[in-house]
Symmetry: C2
Subunit: 271 residues, 2 copies
């Protein structure tokens, strides 16, 4: 999906919500466990219920890989279901990959060609040749970790170098030599509030993928106040647990829709 | 596997070779493609041929994930074959994972409990809470990316901070507050030669996983000269392509054994 198509979806639907499909067998409603493929059954119901209120889905690979072959089957079925039924939704594999060139090229082929996903999260630690193999696919995106939502983001990401640049700023600036605002986004945690101002100094036009509202406690208002672009929105704000586990009964899908709708309404007001 | 057990294996077999199982359908001998599971057939033959000359195997997950469910089945069969037949070999999943705490915990469960692997490579960018969930399993290891073998390692890993520390040094020092030399190793590329001296200043006792000899051009002599520990060796040196693709005919396994033996003999002389 191109940047223009994504912006158009956001404007039409008045939402920039991304629903995270972090599907955990321990947290889904008990009655689904009788299903042949409980993870896919849960995802399908969540997708159908929340699709009107979001523009993107983000399955986190870890939750599928944790169940070996069975989990990968559930992942592939989920992706196929999205591709077949919701082609206008932007699909992100949250995989945080990044390896030497020939390996990153393998990952790119898998996620972009085999699964036809729109975007993949990538870790920047190994530098250009670990990222650039993902940038050769038209209409496909790298979403590079910049300033994450977790406590550990203070360990290295905020280290200041001898030129006065923090590591996350260096990642953002340097990576703009490899890609542009039509094939690269950055992950910035919603818990970072005012730091979105600093992010926008170095990434004035790029889309940001923002996890950390909901269970992790970030503020949607702050994210928009400091991070939103005037015309193009420039934000995909993710919520996983607060939406998909809003209810543990047979009413789970309607409850998830309700939560997604609530967030979407806040977003419409902020747009 | 504990540190003492690993050191004992190295001393008994007089080798610290790790064979990388980066199995690529495009590179394996053509006659294997007729097999029901060509990747596993290749791995099994390579493992049986090289086991006497190495102490570790390192399948790179990307090469398996690239083939979806089929690839994961090949991976699981390879791991089971190693666990059943070569329990004294140290098995590393080269996955370069690292995510927020609840996700890293999922990965830890998969790789250490479900697959019973000895070690997992982890990317440090997200800091402590992305790494520490892997450190709670007795006899299991995190192998943290420090100074990688690729060109992109110059982009961020060698950035000097305001305290005069390079990022890879900071990663090594800071992570020693989370783990110790009995549950953590570091990835340092063989192409870094004299920089092993700097590594040993900040990681004087830790094992290092060293990719980059063979196809990537690093020197085994330099790695040992600057990186080897006096009594405990402290090195696992990986070779993938130069060993497993030594020959593309039906003679491939014997050729791989020949290559592995050659490297092991060099290692015995250096120990």
């Amino acid at each position: 999906m191109t940047r223009q198509e994504l912006i158009q979806q956001i404007k039409e639907k008045k939402t920039f919500l991304c629903v995270g499909l972090d599907t955990d067998l321990k947290k889904i409603p008990e009655h689904l466990l009788k299903d042949e493929d409980p993870i896919f059954a849960f995802n399908k119901a969540i997708i159908d219920a929340t699709a009107p209120y979001c523009v993107a889905y983000k399955p986190n690979l870890a939750f599928y890989e944790a169940f070996g072959v069975k989990g990968i089957i559930s992942f592939e079925k989920t992706i196929k279901y999205l591709n077949d039924n919701y082609p206008k939704h932007f699909i992100i594999a949250d995989a945080k990959r990044g390896d030497i060139g020939n390996t990153s090229a393998m990952y790119a082929r898998t996620f972009f060609e085999e699964y036809n996903l729109d975007a993949l999260t990538v870790a920047p630690y190994m530098g250009e040749d670990s990222v650039s193999p993902f940038l050769t696919y038209e209409g496909k995106w790298v979403i590079l970790l910049a300033l994450t939502s977790n406590k550990g983001s203070f360990d290295f990401q905020q280290t200041t170098d001898t030129e006065g640049e923090r590591l996350f700023e260096k990642v953002i600036k340097r990576s703009q030599q490899w890609g542009n605002d039509e094939n690269m986004m950055y992950v910035v945690g919603a818990t970072r509030g005012e730091m979105f101002k600093d992010i926008r100094k170095v990434a004035p036009t790029h889309f940001l993928l923002v996890p950390g509202i909901g269970a992790q406690g970030g503020s949607l208002e702050d994210v928009c106040k400091y991070g939103m672009l005037k015309d193009d929105c420039g934000l995909l704000v993710n919520s996983s647990r607060a939406i998909i586990y809003a209810d543990k009964t047979e009413n789970f899908a309607a409850a998830a829709a309700q939560e997604a709708k609530k967030v979407a309404e806040q977003m419409a007001a902020l747009l």
